[in-house]
């Protein structure tokens, strides 16, 4: 297990390094940021001074080496636009994104898995049809559109929730539902199919024949069906942290997505790099946890880890 963990850690560091390099290259390829930070009537001297202040007067390889050095020390650099530490900017915005992402995930996971199980257990019933319909809507409606509809209905018409901004729990409801709609749909579809597959297995039939209660049967079935669900849930959670840009914009939520969008429009290289790296790190950690969870959920994986062959 230790070797497995170490191997995964090594892979993770490699992924971060590659991502850092690619983002660095792409940022520079998009053009010179200085042009966006000088007045329109700036002189060549002003431009040169700004370049120097931002560290952009050095060659690209020199910038890259300095960037990696800082990165190794956990320093994401200085924002060109905000003129603050990128670490501080990300530290300010990330909790907001995590707050929203976790709530959206909880909504998506609880309702998604629940609907999926119900649909599977009542396959072909009206309940199943409703579940499939919800999944279809959740996967096909763009988040910005869903967000606007929710705002019109629940904020403007019924005045149940605020239309945007951050505050108490009520501020979280609409953006969390909007953000969680897609994971809900994905998880409900996958859960349904995974549970149906398990329900068709002989051991489930045997359990039923033994007269196991419905609730217990659900628990057993869900555990057997859990590997793909957990995998998808992990990916979805990572996606929620890094892909909340549109929802954060629609609901004026001051998270990492908004920070990234603004940084991109200003060619604020260091912020873009910082945000991408942090999101990558989150993704890597989540996938690592998903991998580790396989061992907890499936004894076959644990045996594989100890070198014991599993029956095919």
């Amino acid at each position: 297990m230790v070797r497995y963990v170490l191997a995964r850690l090594g892979q993770s560091i490699l992924v971060l390094f590659v991502v850092a390099t690619v983002v660095f290259g792409l940022s520079r390829a998009s053009g010179n940021a200085v042009d966006l930070f000088i007045p329109q009537d700036a002189t060549a001297e002003t431009k040169a001074q700004v370049e120097k202040n931002l560290g952009l007067d050095k060659s690209i390889p020199q910038q890259y080496v300095a960037y990696l050095k800082n990165l190794a020390q956990g320093d994401l650099g200085q924002s060109f636009a905000y003129r603050r530490d990128v670490n501080g900017l990300v530290r300010t915005a990330l909790p907001n994104t995590i707050e929203l992402g976790v709530c959206a995930f909880a909504f998506g996971a609880i309702f998604g898995v629940g609907i999926g199980v119900l649909s599977a257990m009542r396959q072909g019933s009206w309940l199943d049809s409703v579940g499939k319909g919800l999944a279809l809507v959740g996967q096909s409606v763009p988040s910005f559109f869903l967000g606007m509809i929710l705002v019109i209905v629940f904020a403007v018409s019924f005045r149940l929730f605020p239309p945007f901004g951050q505050g108490g729990f009520s501020h979280l409801v609409l953006p969390a539902i909007t953000l969680g709609a897609f994971p809900l749909a994905s998880l409900s579809r996958l859960t349904r199919s995974a549970v149906i597959e398990v329900l068709r297995k002989d051991h489930t039939l045997f359990e039923r024949a033994k007269g196991v209660s419905g609730a217990r049967l659900v628990v057993h079935t869900l555990r057997n069906a859990s590997l793909p669900i957990v995998t998808l849930a992990g990916i979805q959670l990572g996606g929620l942290f890094s892909g909340a840009v549109i929802v954060e914009t629609v609901f004026a939520w001051p998270g990492v997505g908004r920070l990234a969008i603004q940084a991109i429009s200003l060619r604020d290289y260091n912020v873009v790099q910082g945000v991408v790296l942090v999101n990558t790190a989150i993704f890597v950690v989540l996938l690592f946890l998903v991998d580790v969870s396989y061992g907890l959920l499936d004894p076959r994986v644990r045996r594989q880890g100890r070198g014991v062959a599993t029956a095919s």
Binding site: P39, T43, V250
Partner: protein, 590 residues
């Protein structure tokens, strides 16, 4: 207080009298004008003042004399009316009565980098923050003219290198200290010679001229320049509280500035909001807010801002498109304010930037034909729902030198065809570059409309839509071909030379050469050194006429800024052609 019982679109009252010198305002400093959207222009007026100068006590910059003390806000009209009322009765020299509404929340799409420190502010979108916290020596009235504010007047030495300002007494800074000459000196020194002066690259122009400031006495300060600096008065840094600045240092001041404006900074949540509380000891009762708290909420999505207004989460929402404003007509509690002529969309005949390369766009008749082919009135009505007008000139109305006698080039497709045929360009093909900008709503749709009109006279244009962060540097760095759309924020063109320098007409613009017309260059050279306002205006007129004759930039459409105002606001006044939120001097809460 008027109740909103029917939707009303109303307009800025252009006949509104200017406000008492020194009793209202806003401050524009170089930094803000420069960076974000093009260098601000404010200067001409003051420059003119300075020139004629030898002692100009209470007059407006630019030669305009202010009317007797009259502070005005635009009262929101009763239902059914279509124009704004002139003077709000709630604003009197004796001060305003506190409103029941304690907090006014203003929704804006962005505050850019959101520096709350007024000396760090860059770009037009930062105006709201700067105007909230700072008073300046001279500030704009609602007519756009600069009037004495923290200064009561100034004199300029014969060699035009020493500006001596007389300062207003009885002004309290946010920390309770009394405003004095040292606060002006501290602000100047911070930029010019302070330990972090090198970071103020956005103020390089100011630093090029100004060498320092000397305290003559508590209420007299002398600002010294190394060479004549005609725009110094409007480019002056806002005074900052010296004791506080000295005590906390530069970095802490940057995070929590202390100045003398109507609002004290409370907190900033990045990309979310900036909060202020009223400066209770504010010196000017006619501009002291009648509500206690001000919040600028950053709400990037237009539909969310509209929802905010409808639900009362916001009291004022900036940055609406014409179609949205049109749609809000059915809202009983929402009024739409139209701030006219805040943006001018140009179609630049970009190929003129390459002096050695042939291009059909170098033929003035071709340029004229391309303008004649576009039905600009129809675009204004259809695309902008009437919240836009056809400009008669490439020079905005608020720019000194604008020629009111100039007639708009008429829509004449047959005439355009003839001109193109005569020029041998009956089957002209070109690229029209474009981008998305907040200054001109729906810029890409506007571009599509232009191309469509051109196709009807045989011109085949291909649209090259480029993301703004790439487009603007490309535009500046001569990396485009054909024609190119560009948004002109008219608020920046309060001085004729700025129009040339920042609109890419003047080949000597330090970093943005484009046209290379020697006659135009010579004209702008003259404008830049002319310190007499009237003479400068006359030169501006020549420039305006010449630009309209040459049509290097086709003036396509002049757009309005649209603001939604909720029921907690009973009067809403603004500076002419100002698309930015604030100053709040003319906002009266219910």
């Amino acid at each position: 207080m008027d109740e909103f019982d029917a939707p009303t679109v109303y307009h800025h009252d252009e006949s509104m009298p200017p406000i008492e010198p020194g009793t209202f305002g806003f401050a524009v400093s170089r930094r803000s004008l420069l960076a974000g959207g093009g260098a601000l222009a404010l200067s001409a007026f003051l420059a003119a003042c300075g020139s004629s100068s030898k002692s100009t006590t209470p007059t407006t910059a630019g030669g305009a004399t202010t009317a007797p003390p009259t502070s005005a806000a635009n009262a929101i009209p009763a239902a059914g009316s279509s124009t704004t009322a002139g003077n709000a009765t709630t604003t009197t020299a004796a001060g305003r009565v506190d409103a029941k509404t304690e907090t006014i929340a203003i929704g804006v799409a962005s505050l850019q980098e959101a520096y709350v420190d007024p000396q760090w502010a860059t770009g037009g979108l930062i105006f709201p923050l700067m105007w909230a916290i700072s008073d300046f020596l001279y500030m704009q009235n609602q007519e756009g003219k600069f009037v004495p504010t923290l200064a009561t007047g100034y004199t300029l030495s014969d060699d035009k290198l020493k500006w001596t300002f007389k300062l207003r007494s009885g002004v309290k800074m946010h920390d309770g200290s009394t405003f004095s000459a040292k606060d002006v000196k501290t602000a100047v020194d911070r930029v010019v010679s302070g330990p972090n002066a090198k970071d103020f690259t956005h103020l390089n122009n100011f630093k090029t001229y100004v060498t320092g400031a000397n305290v003559i006495d508590d209420l007299t300060v002398e600002v010294v320049t190394g060479k004549p600096f005609s725009t110094l008065v409007v480019d002056m840094a806002p005074p900052i509280a010296t004791d506080y600045y000295t005590k906390v240092g530069d970095a802490a001041f940057k995070a929590k500035p202390v100045c003398s404006g109507a609002w004290k900074f409370v907190s900033q949540e990045l990309n979310a909001n900036v909060k202020y509380e009223r400066h209770e000891d504010y010196w000017d009762p006619t501009r002291k807010p009648n509500f206690k708290k001000l919040v600028y909420a950053i709400v990037p999505d237009e539909s969310a801002r509209v929802a905010g207004i409808k639900t009362g989460t916001l009291d004022i929402a900036y940055g609406l498109t014409g179609s949205t404003a049109d749609g809000l007509k059915s809202e009983a509690n929402v009024k739409i304010v139209e701030i006219k002529e805040t943006g001018l969309a140009y179609c630049m005949m970009y190929d003129n930037v390459y002096p050695d390369q042939p291009s059909p766009l170098k033929d003035v008749n071709v340029r004229k034909a391309l303008l004649m082919a576009i039905d600009r009135d129809a675009i204004g009505k259809a695309l902008y729902k009437g919240f836009a007008v056809t400009p008669s000139s490439a020079t905005p109305k608020i720019t000194p030198g604008y020629n009111p006698a100039t007639k708009a080039v008429p829509f004449d497709p047959e005439g355009a065809k003839k001109l193109l045929a005569a020029a041998g360009q009956a089957d002209l093909t070109l690229t029209l570059n474009t981008y998305t900008t907040t200054t001109i709503p729906d810029m890409v749709k506007l571009t599509e409309a232009i191309v469509s009109y051109w196709s009807q006279v045989g011109v085949k244009a291909t649209i090259n839509n480029v993301e703004a962060a790439t487009y603007l540097p490309s535009f500046r760095n001569k990396q485009l071909k054909g024609a190119a759309m560009i948004a002109g924020p008219t608020f920046f063109y309060l001085e004729p030379s700025r129009l040339s320098a920042t609109s890419f007409f003047w080949s000597k613009a330090p970093y943005t050469p484009i046209v290379g017309d020697t006659k135009l260059d010579a004209l702008v050279d003259q404008i830049n050194v002319e310190t007499d306002f009237d003479k400068r205006t006359a030169l501006g007129r020549q420039q305006a006429d010449y630009l309209d004759e040459q049509l290097y930039g086709l003036p396509i459409i002049t757009t309005s800024s649209l603001v939604a105002v909720g029921p907690n606001v009973t009067a809403f006044g603004f500076i002419k052609s100002n698309p930015y939120a604030g100053p709040t001097s003319w906002i009266i809460a219910k």
